[in-house]
Amino acid sequence: MNKVLFFAHLRDSAGVESVEFAASGKTVADLKELISEQFGLQNFDTVMTAINEEFATDDEVIQEGDTIAFIPPVSGG
């Protein structure tokens, strides 16, 4: 299993702070699609992904036990 964390407004949109998700073997892009569908999240293509606190590209493959965090870039200032 994997832990998936939502940051900022993603948490509000998803309604949870984190979920357990079987993502091992999937790419980040796969997971993004599944998650955005399941939780009805918009604009997921430009959300940044961290795997175990390290930046991950969309084609990176998730390993068993990895913690995945979705961090939306914000623009306010």
Partner: protein
């Protein structure tokens, strides 16, 4: 003002030598809103040599809650932010050379300005300007510091050309998140938190303590007590058009910028984003309603009264701003709502 920076010189990684370096440097600050005014104050107090501040807005009552250089008097006088900032910064340290520029930071302006700039600090409220700063940074090999905040959530990342990934590596396109301070609010402590990170990095860069510069991307939520760092080694892309092997600096091309046109005789400005969007209008309408605005809509557009203007937003991202002929103001309103 004898002794003015003594407590900073006592800080060993700066010292007297570092203080001299800070004094010899020129920082370009883009934006004089919440992040801009606070960045400007910290750098002025720290004894920066020169500070150029660009901002297109004037001071409004709703700014005072978090924009620290401004007062009620500035609101009553509707002073441009850059001018109001200058007034206060000059009272804080009359020996710092402050150059306020009242206007919209655009490609030509930035290219003209960066000649002797040592560092660019991002205090804008939109990704379009940030991507332009990012290309300027790569083209002229200047460090810049990204900072942003909405609600209680904030983030910062320091970009050193040739060393770290750039913003275009991270995002690959301008995000259309639709979450801004004007739609989701913002609290002062979050501004302070972003500023703490941006100004710490700024001082490190100004005293050339390169080893101390933060290489991770930091994000935090001051209300939910979260703080996280993300290592960025893997983010650098060799094919990045901004910092990769064959850079084209796409955001220095006007084609990739928001277009504004006055619609003749109608007191209306049309705003068109660089790329065709596919907005979920129902969501946008819902959010604007939630904020207490009267919203009308149909499957093709959303219409909303926004302060003294009326906005019509189409699902391709195009908008009409009624009640103004001012291109800069129209673009500002657009970016305040759509990010």
């Amino acid at each position: 003002m004898h002794d003015r920076h003594s407590r900073q010189e006592l800080f060993q990684p700066i010292g007297k030598e570092g203080q001299r370096k800070i004094r010899s440097k020129h920082v370009l600050l883009i934006g004089a809103g919440a992040l801009g005014s606070a960045n400007a104050e910290v750098l002025t107090r720290a004894g920066i040599g020169r500070l150029t501040i660009i901002d297109r807005d004037y001071v409004e009552a709703s700014n005072l809650q978090r924009q620290q250089l401004y007062t009620e008097e500035d609101v009553l006088e509707k002073l441009p932010k850059a001018a109001a900032a200058y007034k206060r910064l000059h009272a804080i340290d009359s020996s710092v050379e402050i150059r306020p520029i009242i206007g919209d930071a655009n490609i030509e302006m930035l290219q003209d300005l960066v000649g002797d700039v040592d560092l660019i600090i991002d205090a804008t409220d939109n990704f379009e300007t940030r991507m332009m700063i990012n290309d300027i940074s790569q083209k002229y090999q200047l460090p810049w510091i990204y900072g942003a905040c909405v609600g209680s959530f904030g983030m910062s990342f320091t970009i050193l050309p040739g060393k770290t990934p750039c913003l275009n590596c991270l995002l690959q396109a301008i995000p259309m998140q639709g979450m801004t301070c004007d739609t989701n609010g913002i609290i002062g402590p979050n501004v302070q938190m972003v500023i703490a990170h941006q100004t710490a990095e700024a001082l490190k860069i100004l005293v050339e303590d390169w080893d101390a510069v933060r290489t991770s991307f930091v994000s935090f939520d001051v209300w939910r007590n979260q703080y996280s760092t993300m290592k960025m080694g893997k983010a650098k892309r060799a094919t990045c058009l901004s910092c990769g092997e064959n850079p084209t600096y796409p955001y220095l091309d006007v084609e990739n910028h928001t277009k504004t046109t006055v619609l003749c005789g109608r007191d209306t400005v049309q705003v068109r984003p660089p790329k065709v969007q596919n907005l979920v209008l129902s969501e946008l309408a819902e959010k604007l309603k939630h904020l207490g605005y009267e919203v009308k809509g149909n499957p093709y557009l959303v219409s909303v009264e926004w302060e003294e203007n009326r906005l019509v937003i189409f699902n391709d991202g195009r908008a009409l701003i009624h009640g103004t002929k001012d291109l800069t103001q129209a673009k500002a309103i657009y970016q305040r709502i759509l990010g």
